[in-house]
Amino acid sequence: MITIKDVKKDYIDGDIKVHALRGVSMEIERGEFLSIAGPSGSGKTTLLNLIGCIDSIDGGEISIDGEELARRKAKELVEIRRHKIGFVFQSFNLIPVLSAYENVAIVLEMLELPRGEIRERTMTLLHEVGLEGMENRRPSKLSGGQQQRVAVARALIKEPLIVLADEPTANLDSGTGEALLKLMKRINHDRGTTFVFSTHDPMVMDYAGRLCRLHDGEIESDEKRSV
């Protein structure tokens, strides 16, 4: 489903060129629950950004569902993000002026779906992630765990090909983080949604069906696991 072939990415930090990714290759299959682990600066967030079409590749190839990303124009990449990719951010990144319901529904509104369908799908998903009765609360009135559930619902609502979660538990306490992981694992199991995490949290790694370790921009290990 996602093919990553010899992907390179460099950054300029002052006068120094930083090799964030030095030729990473991997395949991600539909329905995987993949954790990309590694210390800070290992290139895990960079890899997620490249898969998520929010950053440009300096070398190599990434294709999603057979679509080669490097040759796409900016507008086409926006369309891929709009239809195929869901994001969960470390700091939740909810829109503060929108309620929990609106933060999720906005994604379907971008897809210009009928109002009735938007309402039904959003309410069902909010119920599924355990936010029933909190639909009208704004992010400031929700706990960290609840906010991240809204973020998960927002990423899932369009039924994307893949959900990319950048350190999703980093801002949560361990109990809340584990509850969130269980939720995502259940959705992965029930819906077959593909999840890719970047993390250095051992608990997240424990839940992963596949663990890929990055070090200095290169894959150190890549193993399938039974959880």
Binding site: N49, D55, V78, R81, R82, I85, F89, V97
Partner: protein, 409 residues
């Protein structure tokens, strides 16, 4: 939640800042509403004064008088004016006609001499041309065929006379001889034109004819049209005079006579530039506000872009925010402007003796006039300025790379 809904909520995120933007636009819109209303009032005032007291909408004179006006060639007159006036009244494009005899001369107070300008008017018919009663400050209008006159208040004051007194004028006749006559002052006038106030008086045209030895001629005939373009009206009158064999007469529209009209044309451009400057000042507030907003919401912009929002939609989001601020600010500003202007348009703004120095048909008391330009156009202009000011920052936000925007603190 449509973009418009998000934009509306966004303006309540930082109420103080939104209030500042609204205030900047409101102050600009209020100032410009009052400013444009005053300008419209000046325009109306100059036109009314010029039409009533100086040039008419169109003025008929002997062509040679116009040519040698600087020599005061009183011998060049509009002969047999009564017949011409009757025929002009029957012309379909002519609304009203005012024949006039101008009586240049002087009056004395002891050793002091004061230049005077008498206007001989057909007092029975002048009411069709203009409401003379409105200039009466004391007493009454003179009666036709009598030795009565009303004097401008300034002239009466210079001569130290009032209603019930008599006044003697020394004048030059049509035949360039001298004549003197004495009139009963039956009233004082507040002429809307300062210069007329300080030297003018009104007397019956029959008497002016006699004093000036006009022999049934008038100095000039002023016309007002039934409406429409003044220049076309002048052309129509010119054709009519040619057909009537009165080719010795010149027809000049007020736009070529009035000094005030030239002032209006220049001032109109200047006032528009001043209005633009006001709005540009307000736009700097909007620009800095939008820049701050975009700086603060960079990560949010990155999130929306990561979710698949197009650059155009992001630009629209910021445009809508500015549109709301612009609409509220402009509306509030125009409403305040209207609220200030309405009472001023009734009581007027008295510029006092400052206007005595102005050499044009401009009254010392001006009445602002509200119109579409000073209200609806100001509102939409404010709205447009708010939106256009946002564009550069919004465009920059739309061009942000999501990955960089998401890294923002």
């Amino acid at each position: 939640m449509r973009l418009s809904g998000i934009a509306l909520r966004n303006i309540f995120r930082n109420k103080r800042r939104s209030l500042l933007s609204i205030l900047a636009l409101a102050v600009a819109a209020t100032s410009i509403t009052i400013f444009f209303s005053l300008f419209e009032g000046i325009k109306t005032n100059i036109q009314t004064n010029s039409w009533d007291w100086d040039a008419g909408e169109v003025r008929l004179r002997h062509a040679e008088f116009d040519r040698y006006e600087y020599l005061n060639p009183v011998q060049y007159v509009v002969g047999d004016y009564r017949d011409l006036v009757d025929r002009l009244r029957a012309h379909p494009e002519v609304r009203t006609v005012s024949p006039r005899i101008r009586v240049l001369g002087a009056a004395f107070r002891g050793e002091q001499q004061f230049a005077t300008l008498g206007l001989g008017l057909d007092l029975e018919r002048e009411q069709e041309y203009q409401d003379l009663e409105r200039v009466i400050a004391a007493g009454r209008l003179p009666r036709s065929g009598t030795n009565e006159a009303i004097l401008g208040r300034g002239l009466a004051s210079d001569l130290d006379i009032g209603t019930g007194d008599i006044v003697t004028f020394l004048i030059q006749t049509r035949r360039r001889g001298s004549n003197a006559f004495t009139l009963d002052v039956v009233g004082l006038a507040d002429f809307p034109v300062p210069q007329l106030n300080s030297s003018g008086y009104i007397l019956p045209i029959e008497n002016a004819d006699r004093y000036m030895r006009m022999d049934g001629a008038a100095s000039e005939i002023l016309l007002k049209s039934v409406g429409g373009d003044t220049v076309e009206f002048a052309d129509g009158v010119r054709s009519f005079l040619e057909e009537s064999g009165r080719t010795e007469l010149s027809v000049v529209p007020w736009t070529r006579i009035s000094g005030g009209y030239s002032y209006l044309r220049t001032a109109g451009v200047v006032y528009n530039i001043v209005a633009l400057i006001f709005f540009l000042l307000a736009s700097t507030v909007i620009i800095s506000t939008t820049m701050m907003i975009i700086h603060e919401r960079t990560r949010e912009i990155g999130t929306l872009a990561a979710m698949g929002m197009h650059g155009g939609e992001l630009v629209r989001l910021f445009f809508l925010e500015s549109a709301y601020l612009g609409a509220i600010g402009s509306f509030v500003g125009v409403v305040i402007g209207v609220a200030i202007t309405i009472p001023l348009s009734r009581i007027g703004i008295d510029f006092g003796s400052a206007m005595d120095m102005v050499e044009m048909d401009l009254s010392s008391v001006l009445y602002p006039v509200l119109n579409v330009r000073s209200t609806v156009l100001v509102f939409f202009f404010g709205l447009a300025v708010a939106m256009v000011s946002t564009y550069p920052s919004a465009r920059r936000a739309a061009k942000l790379r999501p990955v960089e925007a998401l890294r923002a603190e």
